[in-house]
Amino acid sequence: MGHNVTSVTQQTNALALRGVVKRFGDRAAVDGLDLTVERGVCLGLLGPNGAGKSTTMRLLTGQAVADEGAIEVLGFPVPRESKRARAAMGVVPQQDNLDEELTVRENLEVFAHLYRVPRGGRAAAVARAVARARLTGRERTRVGDLSGGMRRRLLIARGLVHDPALVLLDEPTVGLDPQVRAELWGLIDGLRAAGTTVLMSTHYIEEAERLADDCAVMARGRVIARGAPSDLVARHAGKQAIEHHGPPARLAEVERIAHAAGLPTRRTGPSVTVLRAEELPPSALEALGADGFVRRPTLEDVFVILTGERVE
């Protein structure tokens, strides 16, 4: 029976984690994680700092070993057959690990070898990666001399040099200016269109909203909500949000009224937003006053409600 389950998983899931626990000392970075990702899906992994996103990625590559639970990547049990999984997986780490002394081309050539691109296809794979990183004409530049945006594009292109079936992107656009970020979004969107499975962690909610077919919100080492961005919004933040601006006393009053009606609120600087405002009883609506600004709730609202954290 176990065999059957595995073969079904192989066909439909690129990733399957069941009851995974990873401890560092007596602190669990991943704490009972259940997560499956179907083939061809782009899954956004959202979560505050320290939620366990990067640790999850390292578990998938066998660079961290789980204390409990079972992990399967592209049908291979990890860490036992992690090498075969790694051969078909591309990894773009949170922390840049390009070789600064080597040129753009050398970095790509080395990884085409490491990822076992057949000899006959290597030159083409490197050329494709250079084009993908939009570094044509810069092949001979030392990586240490590239700008931050170029390095990030190269890091992504390096992870794709062997056309992997699954790509792990750990905060792919962190620290980049909006224009570079938009460029990278185009690149990631292209992967999705080509049918590559993508697991992408991010702090930028907009990024998840744009790119992810499906989102998992992580906190304290486990998934606390899962669904398409619009479903998550409908389920957790409702249909309507009302934003009130004012002095602290006024904001506190708004919060008191909303909480009395059982509705979640969210503070951002000088404003407070009442979520699921469509559920407000008329009396509460009246008590709130007419100075509110009505808007559609966003994934960001969901994130804040669920994790209690701010976002960038």
Binding site: T61, Q63, V65, N97, L102, E109, V110, L114, Y115, R116
Partner: protein, 261 residues
């Protein structure tokens, strides 16, 4: 879920990938390395061979100049393995996170370590034999046994490179490597019969030298040049192999702890 019970395989594709990386690095550094490999022993020979050689005519039946020309091979084996292993190891683990990138690819840690070590040892085998060429320029007589010297240096450098990898994996800061250099590398160089015969050292040092692969290397190189002594030389080979085996275990274990959490 531990992978320690798994049969360790070395896949050619993984090793070749690591060597491709080393080759790319090598294209950057081969010029200064060749320069160093040739001129360093030349200076040593000039300084010791002529300087000290004018005071000491012969040591253990050979001219002091020839004694040093063969001894310097041991120093070269040491420097060409320990230093690259230490500094590359630290840079690739801590500064550039190269190891993280490589281990995310289909390369296992033992393959990464073996690939780097074979590369470093092979390079040391080639460059570390240069002192003999320099020695010949200064009058050392060629001998057929010299053809084995690159292999002797390779074997010695293999273990020493693993030792360097182990220390690089252990230290918390690159500055701590200075302790290793002064506290370990320098004694390894001196307590090896490189520049003066072992017989001039106190008894305990002569015993301790048997744990020093540089000592075994220098003995083997001298025997290769001036005549093998089969039984003793098997012992020296065993000494080199034992050092490498211990260093392999230590390096792999420590790197695993640091790189695979």
């Amino acid at each position: 879920m531990s992978d320690t019970g798994r049969l360790r395989r070395f896949e050619g594709a993984a090793l070749r990938g690591v060597w491709r990386y080393e080759a790319a690095q090598f294209t950057r550094y081969w010029k200064p390395q060749t320069f160093g490999a040739l001129f360093e022993p030349a200076f040593m020979l000039l300084a010791f061979g002529y300087g000290v050689g004018s005071l000491v005519a012969a040591v253990a039946g050979i001219s002091y100049r020839d004694f040093v020309a063969t001894g310097v091979v041991g120093t070269a084996a040491l420097f060409l393995s320990v230093f690259p292993a230490m500094f590359n190891g630290y840079t690739r683990r801590v500064f550039q996170h190269t190891y993280d990138a490589v281990l995310a690819a289909p390369v296992d840690l033992h393959e990464l370590l073996a690939g780097e070590t074979v590369w470093t040892a092979a390079r040391a085998g080639v460059f570390g034999s240069a002192p003999l060429l320099v020695g010949m320029v200064f009058g050392l007589d060629p001998a057929p046994g010299m053809l084995l010297v690159p292999f002797i240096v390779f074997a010695t450098a293999f273990g020493l490179s693993l030792f360097g990898a182990w220390t690089a994996a252990r230290v918390a800061s690159i500055n701590s490597l200075d302790y290793v250099i002064t506290g370990v590398v320098t004694p390894l160089m001196l307590v090896a019969g490189t520049y003066f015969p072992m017989s001039s050292l106190p008894g305990w040092a002569q015993v301790a030298a048997h744990a020093n692969p540089v000592f075994h290397c220098v003995e083997l190189v001298r025997h290769a040049v001036f005549g093998f002594r089969p039984l003793a030389d098997l012992g020296h080979l065993a000494g080199i192999a034992a050092f490498a085996a211990v260093a392999w275990t230590l390096a792999l274990r420590t790197l695993r702890r640091k790189l695979i959490a």
